[in-house]
Amino acid sequence: MTAFRALRAAVLALGLLLSSGALAVSPDEVLPDPALEARARAISAGLRCLVCQNQSIDDSDADLARDLRLLVRERLVAGDSDEQVRQFLVDRYGEFVLLNPRLNDHTLVLWIAAPALLGGGLLTLFLVSRRRRTATPAPLSAEEQAALDELR
């Protein structure tokens, strides 16, 4: 009956994803200072709602997300910089909370992957085109030569 259980889990997971559709920031959370509120929104969009699937705390209506939103605003009102707020949350919840991973030993490969691929691709193209320029076109095969003769 493992199939059975997996199936139920899948339906539940889908249901969870769908039901979390209701929305984030409530009017009672909004800070009176628009500049501070804007910063809070920007920070929230980059923080993961830890109990949801791939949602930021700005998008989620989970209770935890609300708590985190309030926490972010609390820290901002207390005078923290954006980076200090993020660090505060990382200290509590680990790097997992950041949707945009910071560059460190663990994420080095992640961050250099795309530039490395692009660079490698460009280099290959350059080398191939240099080799190409010196190469001569391959001679016709016997088959092709016969076809050519026939056309003449």
């Binding site: 039901s19 559709g21 409530s26 790097e95």
Partner: protein, 664 residues
């Protein structure tokens, strides 16, 4: 004795699937062993492909019949259906679960196989045999996987009187159509894969090969484009906060084959016209289908939710992972062994149509790599090091955006460049009009609209540039303004369909970019509390909260709010937004009110009650519909290209006939 008949049909379906598995296995072995034996083996393989199609269709229809007639002796129907479901959701319930979706997957696979058999009579015998043998191998692998690890035909006795599933959230027209479209795209790329394998084994790879592969790539690409666009719009209206792309691993799983398929379309073009980029095109054909398989695996194995869910029920995941490793690994082994034997084709200068298309491929392939790394990295890091990190939207927006910007910038030059060796200055001159118009419009809009995000003008610039560049190509080719108008229009109508297709697709891409930029930069949002009788204003639209009531739906209780929206022009519209709680499972959902004004939309959502008032969230999403309209244009472009005389399936045959008639 209707019950007895149904039971017969379920077992008939079960038997048909097993027989299809056996025939596919035999066809694969026979095809690979005797592919040199000419027409006879090709005929056998064609008949086997059509037989597989008929048998799998019987199996699929047997499942559909069991669901439609609510035959609860079928375990799958018990778990995923209910006699009270509307007919369409009974049918879509067949593929709304793991086992059934595998049968759908195989059905599409054999449909494509049968299409090759039906339209491919004039393919060289060895190529046809090898293509169909590879298709049969895939059918055997996935039918075997389905029968042995996820059999949809399991029975239960005694049969319950009623099914378990009436989950209303899943009863949505989007969920009914989305998977078949997506699968048709995924699985269609199997044809490109099979052609690549056939080319590697037989060593037969030339322009005719590319001409054969391109229509299949185009067809799959059109399905995938529509599938992804639909999924995106479905998320937008259903999930309730107006997001349309989340860089969710499931979305990435469908986006990677799309990117790679787009690259394949362009590289196959170079191969067809100039007989160059052969090795790369074969490589892309393999990669694209491998990414489709990877997507299927990621979604089906549950590895996405967490590595740990995967590990708790690993049998099925491990089997499909092994299958994946065998198919992809085998293909790349073959590629490594044989690729060097493929002869290089036509030469060209770096500045040429070929060069531009290679640049396109470089950026698209890198984008695929970036998305792949971003999607799998957290899984691998967790599995190997045990550290959890998140790779979310901000990361993908940055890396993907950085790769797409230069691609969009050089895109309009591509169609303006000649094959072999092109004059970049002449191409630039022909784009002067488009460039001037782009600059003018971007500056105008930035000045009028106010710039809230510093990157917005750059985004607008790229979007307009791509769209106007596409139009410039048509203008240029029809010599509009340089010759009499009537003559020009005649030229425009007489342009090959592929030229139209290129222009429409690139224009559509520009439109999508503009929609994304406009919505992201100028969206406005208001979160407020309202009571009936009060109103709020956002971006010139006045939203009056008329009344609030509780309604009982067929299977849910709803808080229903009705609003009157007054547009800036003074016109008014009535609309409703709901919060529903479904009786069956207590699941709350929101039904947003979405009103379309031109290309823009006003998106209203009723939040949870707060004290004695109601939380209402209002978004104004300028030009948001352009995102999906652009995607529709791209799909349309694919259809236009498929109707081109030169691309149409079967055209090479007529071309060959013609050549044969003329040559002597």
């Amino acid at each position: 004795m209707a019950g007895a008949d149904q039971q017969v049909s379920i077992e008939l379906g079960h038997f048909a699937l097993i027989l299809a598995f056996a025939i596919a296995s035999a066809a694969a072995v026979g095809g690979y062993l005797f592919w040199r034996s000419g027409q006879r083996i090709a005929m056998v393989l064609s008949q086997a492909a059509i037989l597989q199609f008929v048998l799998v269709l019987v199996a699929f229809l047997a499942l559909i019949q069991a669901f439609v007639t609510s035959d609860f002796s079928l375990l799958l129907a018990v778990n995923n259906s209910h006699s009270l479901k509307p007919l369409i959701y009974k049918i879509s319930g067949v593929w709304g679960n793991h086992e059934g979706s595998m049968v759908l997957w195989i059905s599409i696979l054999v449909t494509f196989g049968a299409m090759v058999a039906a339209f491919g009579r004039r393919l060289p015998n060895d190529l046809l045999t090898l293509v169909l043998a590879t298709q049969s191998l895939l059918t055997a692998a996935f039918a075997g996987f389905t029968i042995f690890t996820s059999n949809p035909f399991l029975r239960i006795s005694p049969a319950p009187l009623e099914g378990n599933d009436l989950n209303p959230v899943l009863q949505d027209i989007g969920l009914a159509i989305h998977p078949p479209l997506l699968y048709a795209g995924y699985v269609g790329f199997s044809i490109c894969f099979s052609f690549a394998i056939a080319a590697l084994i037989s060593g037969r790879i030339d322009q005719a090969w590319a001409r054969w592969v391109r229509p299949w790539t185009m067809l799959s690409w059109v399905f995938l484009t529509l599938g992804i666009a639909m999924g995106s719009y479905w998320a937008y209206y259903e999930l309730g906060w107006g997001g349309w792309w989340f860089w969710d691993p499931v979305e990435n799983a469908s986006f990677m084959p799309w990117l790679s398929g787009t690259a394949l379309l362009h590289s196959a073009l170079v191969m067809e016209k100039r007989n160059a980029l052969k090795i790369w095109t074969v490589f892309l054909s393999i990669i694209t289908f491998s990414l489709s398989l990877l997507g299927t695996f990621m979604v089906r194995s549950g590895i996405l939710t967490s590595v740990h869910t995967f590990a708790s029920d690993p049998t099925r995941g491990l089997v499909i992972l092994t299958l994946l490793a065998l198919v992809i690994g085998g293909a790349f082994f073959l590629f490594a062994m044989r690729a060097s034997s493929l002869r290089q084709g036509g030469l060209f200068a770096p500045v040429s149509r070929e060069g531009a298309l290679i640049l396109n491929n470089l950026f698209l392939a890198t984008a695929v790599g970036a998305v792949l790394v971003g999607t799998l990295y957290p899984l691998l890091l967790d599995a190997l090091v045990g550290t959890s990190i998140s790779v979310g939207a901000p990361f993908f927006n940055l890396t993907f955006g950085a790769l797409m910007a230069p691609l969009l910038l050089v895109l309009p030059f591509g169609p303006m460049l000649a094959w072999k060796r092109a004059d970049i200055v002449a191409a630039a001159q022909r784009l002067m009009g488009a460039a001037a118009l782009t600059l003018f419009v971007t500056i105008l809009i930035s000045a009028l609209g106010g710039v809230s995000i510093s990157l917005a003008p750059l985004g607008l610039l790229l979007g307009f540039w791509v769209a106007f560049g596409a139009i410039a190509e048509l203008v240029d080719r029809s010599k509009l303004g340089r010759i009499p108008l009537g003559e020009s229009l005649r030229r425009l109508v007489g342009l090959p369909r592929t030229a139209w297709s290129t222009a429409i697709a690139h224009f559509g891409l520009g439109v999508t970019v503009l929609g994304i930029v406009a919505t992201t930069s100028w969206q406005t949002e208001l979160v407020t509390t309202l009571n009936p009788g009060e109103s709020a204003e956002l971006s010139g639209y006045t939203v009056a909260f008329d009344s609030f009531g509780k309604q009982a739906g067929p299977n849910y209780m709803a808080d229903e709010a009705s609003f009157t929206i007054t547009a800036p022009g003074g016109s008014t519209r009535q609309t409703m937004a709901d919060r529903r709680v479904y009786v069956a499972n207590g699941m709350p959902t929101t039904e947003a009110a979405i009103e379309t004004y031109g290309f823009s939309q006003l998106y209203l959502q009723l939040g949870e009650p707060l004290d004695d008032t109601h939380v209402v969230r209002i978004w104004y999403k300028p030009y948001v519909t352009l995102i999906w309209l652009g995607a529709l244009l791209m799909a349309l472009a694919g259809v236009v290209s498929l109707t081109d005389r030169r691309v149409r399936v079967g055209a090479p045959r007529r071309a060959a006939k013609l050549a044969a008639g003329v040559a002597p």
